[in-house]
Structures are given as C-alpha cells and as structure tokens.
C-alpha cells in the first residue's frame, strides 16, 4: 500500500466522526494547552524576574530596616498611654558602610511614615526622602517635569516628585498635576515631576517607586525630623523613630560583591546586637535563588501537564480500542481483499497519531489563548517560542504513537475469518 493512500485513508476515517474525534482528543488538547501556557508563563516570569533584578542592577546590595515585634517602650503617664518605637538602620551605619573597600556609592531612603490623605481617606502611598541618585538606582524614569535637583536639597525646597500611581490616587482626572500641591499635615509640597517605574521594582518593607512621593532629605529633616508620630484612638500615642529605611549600596567590583555583603552583615550584627532590625539582600543571589525556584516550578508544572497527557492518551487508547471492535467487519473485509497486517496496523496507528497531532494543534491554539488571557487580565508577562510549539507537537505525536500502538496491533491481529463470521 502506498504511504499517501494510507494517510488519505486514516484522515478520511478521522473526518467521518468529527465530533467524536474532537471529544476524543480533548485530553490531548488540554494537555498540550497546559504545556504551552505553562512554558509561556514560566518563561515570562523568568524574564520578568531577570529584568527586575537587572533593573536594580546586579552590582547592588540592598540594606534595609525591619520592624521588630514588641520593641515599643512604654512611656505612658497617668492620663495617656504612649509608646516609643525605635529601630532600624542608623546614620552612623551609613558612614561605616560608605567607608568600606568595595563600596562605590550609597543611596539612602527614609520613610517619613506620614499619613497621606485625600479628604478623610488615607491613601496607600508613602512619603519618602532620598538623595538625587535614587532615580537611577531604583531603575525609574521621569515622564513629566523634572527630578529633584541638588539645589532643592541645598535649600530644603518644599518640592516633591510623585510616582505614577500617586498621580492617579491624589489628583482628579484632567487636573493639572505639575505645579499642583500635596498637603501633608501642615506641610505643603509642590509637585515638580512625575516618575515611573516599569521594571516592577519592589524594595523590602517599602512599596514600588510608583507609589512613592519623594522629597529631598534636607526638606524632610526640616519639616519632620526623624520621628513619626501616630495616634491610635483618643488616649493612645505611638511614636516611631527610624533614621534610615533603605541603603542601596553600589559596589565597584562585582566579583567581590558577596564578600562585601558579608562584611556589611557582620558589621550590622555587631552594631545591632540587641535586635535583628535590619536585612541585607543581594539581587545577584536572588537571581540565583529565583532560578532554582523556577526550576522547581517547571518540574511541578511539567508533572501536571504530563499527567493530563497520560490521561488524554489513555482516553484515546480506550476510544481506539472500541473503534477497532466496532470496525472489525471493515477490518476483516480489508484483510479478505488483500490488506496485510501492517497495512491495518498503520491505518489505525496513523489515525491515532493524526488525532493527537490535530488535538495538539488545537491545544497550541488554546495554550496561546490562555497565555494571552493571563497576560491581559492577570498582567503576567508570557512568552511562547517556536521551540515550545515544536516540542508540544512532538509530544502530541509521541502520545499518539505510544497509546495508538496497542489498539492498532489489536486491529492487525484480528483473524479475518472470525471477523467475517461475526455478522
């Protein structure tokens, strides 16, 4: 039998029962769909993690303040309850770190912990003070207006730059933002610029730069000092005292970054011996960890996809076995008319492989659809490659061969005479 006749025959049989063929291959459709979307999501997550970490710069060490539970000191008197909470990085720590060998620059950031209100509603926005290097070191850009200048710093100017999300939360649609005013308690800051961070940068214990209102350090010191005062209820006061919330330490030689991080840690361990009110992360290490987590995720997802492919394959095998039984008269007649065992074997095997491959193609469409939906509604980036499509088709084909062989063999083993007698 010519190969093209064999293919035509198998294809013809498949099209005879379109709905049944479709239902039969559902398992494969979903299996391949999940393979494609899994690969797309994990590849997207990987790229995103990479770009986030690369945005911060692999040549950085992040040192941050961490609140310690129950560190508050009771300073109540007879009429009111007052607590003083003090923790975190100190200005003298900054001096030490700056003087270390491999350290190039340090950008500091302090959260003023002031409530930002719109009317009476508290907004999920933080007011921070920082130096002029922050914009670049956080991987952010100015979209409108300007960034804080050394002159602002020198004159303790009452100006601020607001993040992309802050603009939306604090101003009405169409209201002029640049030159607009942000009121914090009695202080009023003029908006001089809008900044945007598209890399998904998130600092430990702090928000994304998109949710920040940034003012110069000198301005912050002049207006607010180092303590933030919060009242809870009528007769309960809480004061928090934190000198610095974040140091972005840039190293000179990337090669020694782990060594520098270790020295920072051992220095902080000594100087903050009472409480561990600080943390250190190295994006480069995070990158390595991320890769490991990613691998675990990929293994788990592949197992799930694998199981659904096996279930789909067994389903197809089941249907094909029923199919062979149902068509035993056709098989017997073909054998009587001169079909060899291998002609029957290949007819059924190719039919199964066609079924799984077509299912695989639909699965690819489904997988791409899922990825697009995930990207659109969950805002997860997804990336699918020619490679992942090729591997999915290969898997679908392979499933067809594995689960189609037994039914096809069974069909070929049919004795023509038994089959013809069964009328």
């Amino acid at each position: 039998m010519f190969v093209h006749d064999l293919f035509k025959l198998s294809f013809h049989n498949l099209l005879l029962h379109k709905i049944r063929s479709f239902l039969t291959s559902l398992g494969i459709i979903f299996g391949v769909g999940s393979v494609i979307s899994m690969l797309a999501i994990s590849e997207g997550a990987k790229r995103q993690a990479l770009s986030q970490i690369e945005a911060l710069g692999i040549d950085k060490i992040i040192v941050y303040s961490k609140p310690v539970p129950q560190v508050g000191k009771d300073v109540s008197d007879s009429s009111t309850q007052s607590f003083l909470e003090s923790y975190g990085l100190l200005r003298k720590d900054l001096g030490h770190i700056k003087d270390m060998d491999n350290v190039a620059t340090v950008t500091t950031l302090r959260n003023t912990r002031k409530k930002i209100l719109r009317g009476t509603k508290q907004l999920d926005v933080i007011l921070v003070s920082t130096s002029t290097t922050f914009l670049q070191d956080s991987g952010s850009d100015i979209t409108n207006g300007r960034w804080l200048s050394p002159a602002d710093e020198a004159h303790s100017a009452a100006v601020c730059v607001i993040g992309r999300n802050v603009k939306r939360k604090l101003f009405f649609l169409g209201e002029a933002v640049l030159g607009g005013r942000v009121k914090v308690g009695n202080a009023v800051f003029k908006v001089v610029g809008i900044m945007e961070n598209n890399l998904g940068t998130q600092f430990p214990e702090l928000n994304s730069p998109n949710d920040m209102i940034v003012i110069p350090e000198s301005t912050s010191n002049a207006f607010f000092g180092f303590s933030s005062f919060q009242s809870e209820g009528r007769r309960r006061f809480q004061t928090t005292y934190v000198e610095a919330d974040l140091f972005i330490v840039k190293v000179r030689e990337l090669e020694y970054i782990d060594d520098t991080a270790r020295r920072i840690v051992s220095f902080l361990e000594k100087s903050h011996s009472r409480d561990k009110d600080w943390g250190v992360t190295v994006p480069l290490d995070l990158l390595k960890q991320r890769e490991q987590t990613q691998n675990i995720f990929t293994i788990v997802m592949s197992s799930i996809a694998g199981i659904s492919l096996i279930v789909g394959g067994v389903g197809i095998m089941n249907i094909m076995l029923a199919n062979v039984y149902e068509r035993r008269k056709e098989i017997g007649t073909r054998r009587a008319l001169g079909a060899k065992k291998k002609d029957i074997l290949f007819q059924f095997l190719i039919e199964t492989v066609f079924l799984t491959t077509l299912g695989g193609m639909l699965g690819i469409v489904l997988g791409i659809g899922i990825s697009e939906v995930v990207t659109k509604y969950a805002a997860w980036p997804t990336i699918y490659s020619v490679w992942s499509i090729a591997i999915s088709l290969f898997i679908a084909c392979f499933v067809g061969i594995v689960f189609g062989t037994y039914p096809a063999w069974k069909a070929a083993q049919q004795n023509p005479i038994d089959v013809l007698r069964s009328e």
Partner: protein
C-alpha cells in the same frame, strides 16, 4: 470444457478442519480431496452446516486447514507467510460475500478501488479501472453513489466489480444470491456466466439453490464434512 490442456489451479489433498469447542474437538471437514481446473465453473452444494463456507474460506485463504495439503497454483499454502497469503488474496483471488460487505462510507468508485489500493496501483489507473468495471457490471452511472443508495442487486454487482479489480485468476462466492430475490439472483448469475465465458475465469460458488445445479460445469456435494454423490445428496437433502 474447451480443448485447451487443463491446468490445475486448486488442489485439496485430504483437507481436514476441526474447531475446538471448550476441550472438545469438533470436526467440520473430515478429509476432502478435490481439484479445480482453470476455467471451470464449480458449484458447492450441501445442507446447512455441512461445511460449505468452511471449505470456501480455506479455498480463499481466509482460513487455514487443520490437516491435509492445499496447493494453490502449484504452491503449498501451509508454507506461505501471512504477508504472502494477503498478497495472494489480493492478486489471485476475488472474494464475493453473501452480505456484499461493501464499505458504507466509501463511494461505489472508492469501494471498487480498495483491492487495487492494496495492490499499489497508482490512483489515476485505479480510477480508470474502477470506472470500466462499474460499466461492465452495468453501474457506470453510479460511481459517486454510496452503497446505502443502491439496491441489493446493485450492491452485489459492485462487490463483484470490486473482486475483479486486480484481475484475479479465480473468483470465490459464498451464497452471492442468498440475500436477493429470484429475478435479481438470475441477473447476478448471468454476470457470472458472462465472466466465465468471456474471460475464462475460474469460479467457485456456494449455493443452496438446487435450481442452479445446471448452471455449473461441475457440482461438489458436501455432506457432513465429506464429499458425496449427487444421489446421496438428493437422498439426504429431501
């Protein structure tokens, strides 16, 4: 028969066939010896259960005997591989069934082409042959129809056309008119006669119909798994 030297196509030497039913061996053919010469039109008759179909299936290489020797065109069948048997069924034998066994999803044309597909005849040639065969059985105008759109007699004609695709040396038919009325049966038989006369085709046909006896060059009577004489057959058949 004509004056040409006779050539033996089929030779049965003490062919036996038995089935195992549970642990019990049930003999169906109990030693049949016969030969069929080229160009003969042979009828096989016998009561139901006498083993006619069993014998025809062995003749057509659809079944294998449990004893004896079967020589087809000078080749000992028991020595042939499964693929060789399939090839012989394809090229040398045309098989016609009582219930036609057409493929319901294929058109008349495609049905006739099936044995030629297994015989690796290129598709254009196949279509030509299928068309001429359909015309020959008087159904050239039905090429694109499905079997379900044809009458029983027409279906059997198509089945005969299908059996002729690879120009086989002999045709086997198991009660080919068993499902047809008298008039249609007669037409089918006419077709067999024509094939026999025009193409010197060798034909072996199983039938119950005693009226057909005169149509055959020779009749083989089977009784309880053995060859029997016409008189004996008459005696037992009632």
């Amino acid at each position: 028969m004509g004056g040409a030297p006779e050539e033996t196509i089929v030779k049965f030497e003490d062919i036996k066939k038995s089935y195992m039913i549970g642990a019990q061996e049930v003999p169906v053919l109990k030693g049949v010896s016969l030969s069929v010469e080229k160009g003969e039109f042979v009828g096989i008759m016998g009561v139901s259960g006498s083993g006619k179909s069993t014998m025809l299936n062995i003749l057509g290489l659809l079944d294998v005997p449990t004893g004896g020797r079967y020589i087809l065109n000078g080749r000992l069948v028991e020595n042939l591989s499964d693929d060789e048997l399939a090839e012989l069924r394809n090229i040398s034998i045309g098989f016609i069934f009582q219930s036609f066994n057409l493929f319901p999803h294929l058109s008349v044309e495609q049905n006739i082409e099936v044995p030629m597909v297994y015989g690796e005849i290129p598709s254009r040639k196949r279509r030509e042959i299928a068309k001429s065969l359909a015309e020959r059985v008087g159904l050239g105008h039905r090429l694109k129809h499905k079997p379900s759109e044809l009458s029983g007699g027409e279906c059997q004609r198509i089945a005969i056309a299908r059996a002729l695709g690879n120009n086989p040396a002999f045709l086997l038919a198991d009660e080919p008119t068993g499902n047809l009325d008298e008039k249609t049966s007669h037409e089918i038989l006419e077709l067999f006669h024509e094939l026999h006369a025009r193409n010197q085709m060798t034909l072996v046909m199983v039938t119950h119909n005693i009226l057909l006896e005169k149509d055959f060059d020779r009749v083989i009577y089977l009784r309880d798994g053995r060859l029997s004489s016409k008189d004996e057959f008459r005696g037992s058949g009632g």
